[in-house]
């Protein structure tokens, strides 16, 4: 009898897992279907090359696209060296003391903080205190704070998964610590680190709330020319269109989401490609 019960449980568990997986995929499919259905008619060359306008058929997301690219480039520039070197320090150099564990726990907590809190922090520190105003710098720094813990945790995981035996082999050949770390451990951890970098920049590119707080504009009819210019980004533009009452602007919002999703898709594709390329010599 006990055997039968286990068999039923086994089958039920299998179906539970299966339904969960396909359910999630189905919901994603429905979402994408609705967005494409609504947004596709609005996709055109003008949509990419025009500035926003109060006339829906003339409106485009040129400035938002440019703003997103500016902000995300600067965010990556700030956060990649900072995050990767932090994770190297934490994994390879930091003493195994209690206060380090405390720091570690706090990094994990920071990764789960609501993004709007980073927006408030960015407003207080970068916009006001450092007087960066509503600039690309202020936006990029705020987003950097937001994704820093994510990059640190992902890179730490990648570095930790490099077997100790590789380090031993390096030291046994008379290597110094930095040689082992930079020439053996980091290259071996590279696929994981790159995945973390791409995933966290993908998160940054989709963030809206913190940028609204620090004052990203919703109507920008020019292209930013430098990091001190004010800006808007794709999700803010989409949010702005979606909150208008006219039906046509909802179509524009859907089209904007399609552009954003395409960018995310390309970034993830690059991540997969880099992973493949770097894992030529996998364990």
């Amino acid at each position: 009898m006990a055997f039968d019960k286990r068999k039923i449980f086994n089958t039920a568990f299998f179906w539970g897992c299966r339904i969960s997986t396909w359910g999630a995929i189905l919901i994603l499919g429905i979402l994408i279907y609705h967005i494409v259905k609504q947004g596709y008619p609005w996709i055109s060359e003008n949509f990419i090359t025009n500035f926003p306008s109060r006339f829906p058929h003339k409106a485009g997301l040129k400035s938002a696209l440019a703003g997103s690219l500016w902000v995300i480039s600067f965010t990556a520039l700030i956060v990649v060296p900072l995050g990767v070197s932090t994770s190297i320090f934490l994994e390879e150099y930091a003493p195994r003391k209690r206060y380090m564990r405390w720091i570690q726990i706090n990094i994990s907590n920071l990764a789960g903080m609501p993004s709007i809190i980073y927006g408030l922090l960015g407003l207080a520190i970068f916009v006001r205190f450092f007087n960066l105003d509503r600039s690309i710098w202020a936006g990029a720094l705020t987003l950097s704070l937001l994704v820093l813990p994510v990059i640190v945790i992902a890179s730490q995981g990648a570095i930790r998964s490099v077997p100790q035996s590789i380090r031993d082999a390096g030291y046994a050949l008379g290597a110094r610590k930095w040689q082992v770390v930079f020439q053996q451990v980091i290259p071996a951890a590279m696929p994981g680190i790159m995945t973390g970098v791409i995933l966290s920049t993908s998160r940054a590119i989709g963030e809206t709330a913190p940028l609204i707080i620090i004052g990203a504009l919703s109507y920008v009819a020019y292209l930013p020319e430098g990091p001190m210019d004010s800006f808007t980004v794709l999700p803010v533009q989409i949010y702005n269109w979606a909150s208008r009452p006219q039906e046509s602007f909802h179509g524009l919002a859907a089209a904007g989401i399609m552009v954003l999703l395409t960018i995310l898709f390309i970034m993830n594709f690059i991540a997969v490609y880099i992973r493949q390329k770097f894992t030529k010599f996998k364990y």
Partner: protein, 250 residues
Amino acid sequence: MSENIIEAKDLRIFYGMNEAVKGVSFKIKKGEVTAVIGPSGCGKSTVLRSFNRMNDFISNIKITGGLSFEGDEIYGPKMDPAVIRRDIGMVFQRPNPFPKSIYKNIVWGPKINGYKHNWDELVEKALRRAALWDEVKDRLHDSALDLSGGQQQRLCIARTIAMSPKVILMDEPCSALDPKATARIEDLIGELKKRYTIVTVTHNMQQAARISDETAFFYEGELIEFGNTNELFTNPKEKRTEDYITGRFG
């Protein structure tokens, strides 16, 4: 009489409060193969790893007594652990090639130590000495991880040889290999002893008897007996050695 290359005098190694090696003294002869045998936890690997200071990475370890390499104190204040590891190479229990090409595995050590070589020649020489050349000469730039376990271990030996060490330490080099690969490594050790002093830890007594000139028997952190392999196996002086090699415990 051959000269001694490594000498221990009342060597004691502590892990925290636990004394893992309890005051051992011995001399390892240059150009010979010395096997270190004993049951698990007897301190044999700990002793081996103290020769090239691989114990330095363990946080609460303490080492007292004398341990010298060619007359220099290994734990002396002027000794640089990275420098001694150039002269005393090590092959580990599990094959641990770098996740890079076969070629890069061999040249990395000499390169980071600032040695100058004709790299192609060095790679060929090291692989020939490790009896791996014929199997890999057409795929030097393929991943070292595509090799079989036995080949990987010979690559690790080649990588160590490329540093032109004086001593090669082997920490149970065959324990992760099948009998055929083990036999190849054993043959190789016989070849290598012409050029290098070899100290190998093994839990396999037949292997120690086959490959070594001298054998050290450790038990519970003490060196019970150390001497000529033939004598130790045919006519042990100590009762505990006899019990261990005849399989009464361990």
